[in-house]
């Protein structure tokens, strides 16, 4: 088991390294002076010269990457000339809303999708099964921002139940915090629910045809126990996998949802940075999101050990 842990953890190193190279190259292989691009449109020539000095632009590409990567390892993501602060500080300031939104979304998605998927698999071909499959195609097709505006229009403007937009820090009281978070999380969770429910259904369906399920039923276990402790637990690995892969979808959705609901998180920061052509921030945010994505998938893979004792590698 220890060998698996180490092996799987080390396997993320080359992936992260390649991500770093790709993000680095993004700026260097673009026509134009990287220093001028980084400094932004309103930069003075002295500033550009200083940045060129810091990046070591006169040195070979490999040396440049070395300097950049060294800073990266030290936690230095560079300096945003638009926001006038360190990119790492900037990310730190904007992380709370994004974390809250993502956490709520995953919570809603898992709590809704897993039971639905299990029930659909249990009564295969029944009305719930067919409704769920139709919903999942629909969920993949309806754009996050269209859904977001639909919910704002219906719930906030017509019914007046929840605030229209904005974000309240958790420090300013839990009630307002949750009230502002409900609509964005529901909006964002729809695609995720579609994805998780579909895989849960397929995975539980497979397990339900196993012999040990028949045995469990034959010895008179209540059906709920058969479904949960026999079927669902054994179907967990593909479900966990898709939750991990879905994080990429979630990150894309965060960027859009935060813009629709005016939430000052990392997704909004990404868009603001792109509109301001603030490349150090763009690079920093991409690196950060990719790192989180790879890390979560590592944790997901490691969690297989809990659910499937056969995995020992």
């Amino acid at each position: 088991m220890f060998a698996f842990l180490v092996k799987r953890t080390l396997a993320t190193v080359p992936v992260l390294l390649i991500v770093a190279v790709l993000v680095f190259l993004l700026l260097r292989l673009t026509p134009g002076d990287p220093a001028a691009i980084i400094a932004g449109d309103a930069a003075s020539p002295e500033n550009v010269a200083k940045i060129r000095e810091n990046l070591g632009l006169s040195k070979p590409l490999v040396t440049q990457f070395g300097i950049w990567f060294g800073n990266l390892l030290a936690g230095d993501l560079g300096e945003s000339y638009f926001f006038k602060m360190k990119v790492a500080t900037l990310i730190g300031q904007r992380i709370e809303p994004t974390l809250a939104l993502s956490f709520c979304t995953i919570l809603i998605a898992v709590l809704v999708a897993v039971p639905l998927g299990v029930l659909a698999a249990w009564r295969q071909g029944g009305w719930l099964d067919r409704a769920l499959m139709s919903f999942s195609v629909l969920g993949f097709s309806i754009p996050v921002f269209v859904l977001g505006y639909l919910l704002i229009w219906l719930v906030s403007l017509k019914l007046g139940l929840l605030p229209v937009q904005g974000y309240q820090r958790i420090g300013d009281g839990f009630g307002p915090f949750i009230r502002h978070l409900i609509l964005p999380s529901v909006t964002l969770s729809v695609v995720y629910i579609a994805l998780i429910a579909r895989v849960t259904r397929a995975s539980v369906q497979d397990v339900l045809s196993e012999d040990y399920i028949r045995t469990a039923r034959a010895k008179g276990l209540p059906e709920a126990r058969v479904l949960i402790s026999h079927a669902l637990v054994n179907a967990a690995v593909p479900i966990l996998t898709v939750i991990g892969i879905g994080i990429a979808l979630l990150i894309g959705g965060v960027v859009v949802t935060e813009s629709v609901y005016g939430i000052p998180g990392l997704g909004r920061l990404t868009v603001d940075a792109v509109l301001a052509r603030d490349f150090p921030t763009i690079q920093g945010v991409i690196l950060f999101f990719s790192f989180v994505y790879v890390l979560i998938n590592l944790l997901v893979d490691l969690s297989y050990l809990l659910f499937d004792p056969r995995i020992r590698y």
Binding site: P14, V15, L16, I18, V19, V21, L22, V23, L26, L27, T30, I37, V137, L138, F140, S141, I142, P143, V144, F145, V146, Y149, L150, I152, W153, L157, V164, R198, A202, A248, I251, G252, V255, V256, S259, V260, T270, V271, V274, L275, R277, F279, I282, Q283, V285, I286, F289, S290, Y293, V294
Partner: protein
Amino acid sequence: MSSVPAADLSTEAANVFERPTVWRMLARHWAVRIGGVAMLLLALIALAAPLLGTVDPTLFDPGSRDLLPGGAGEITTLEGESVKHTFLMGSDSFGRDIYSRVIYGTRVSLVVGIACALLSVFVGVLAGLSAGYLRWLDMPLMRVMDGIMAIPGILIAIALVALWKASLVTVVIAIAIPEIPRVTRLVRSLVLSIREEPYVEAAVSLGTSTFKIMFGHILPNTVAPLIVQGTYICASAILTEAILSFLGVGLPTDMPTWGNIMAEGRVQFQQFPHNVFFPGIFLAVTVLAVNILGDGLRDTLDPKMAKRA
């Protein structure tokens, strides 16, 4: 005495044993029918856009700003003439006709979707064939693909469009790049299983060139899964383009795209929600149609994959 003509007998017998052709199987599947008809309709709308009671989608008239759907007003042509015009879906804050913009937006969405699918499948096939058949290339190429896949696709697209000047071509390339690894992985895995097939071994033992084996023997057997994959890429590319335009980082804002119309409409969403909803409905229906078509194609062309999903 009457006898059954021999010719009839033979056709009857042929009907019994005839295997349904791919086309007939496709035409029989409900999802292919619905998705296909919807796509044809959208393609027709895109082609016939000038004939559908539209005006030039970039025209505006300061006197016709913020009209409600069905409102009557005027629009100024390029020649400077004022023409009476009914704004079926209302007008935006510049006084442009939303109906015309939505209808012309169909063109942009379909072109982007199809171009992204073709481009990513083309590059993915070349990369996948090379990785699967040329051993020395396999490792480095797939590591790079892993790296691209570790970056959420929309972020790659946003960053690339920000670096390049936004145009139809750059947006298509930026959206296609994050899709390439998936195609590459698919083709590579197909190649790895196909290359063990007896007919490929036979071709190798006869001294057929690597090039001919890759393109003449292996490629044709990857077509069905690629059509399915390409359809899904088309759907997600249409969505991504709309997202980029909506965020203001996509195609130039005066271009009539669904995302741009929504980006313009969101400012006044509380007073005029239809500016967001009309293009939103077109977008959702289009993506849904492509996805349904994809599901139908998968069920018919690629039954193995259908089982997995």
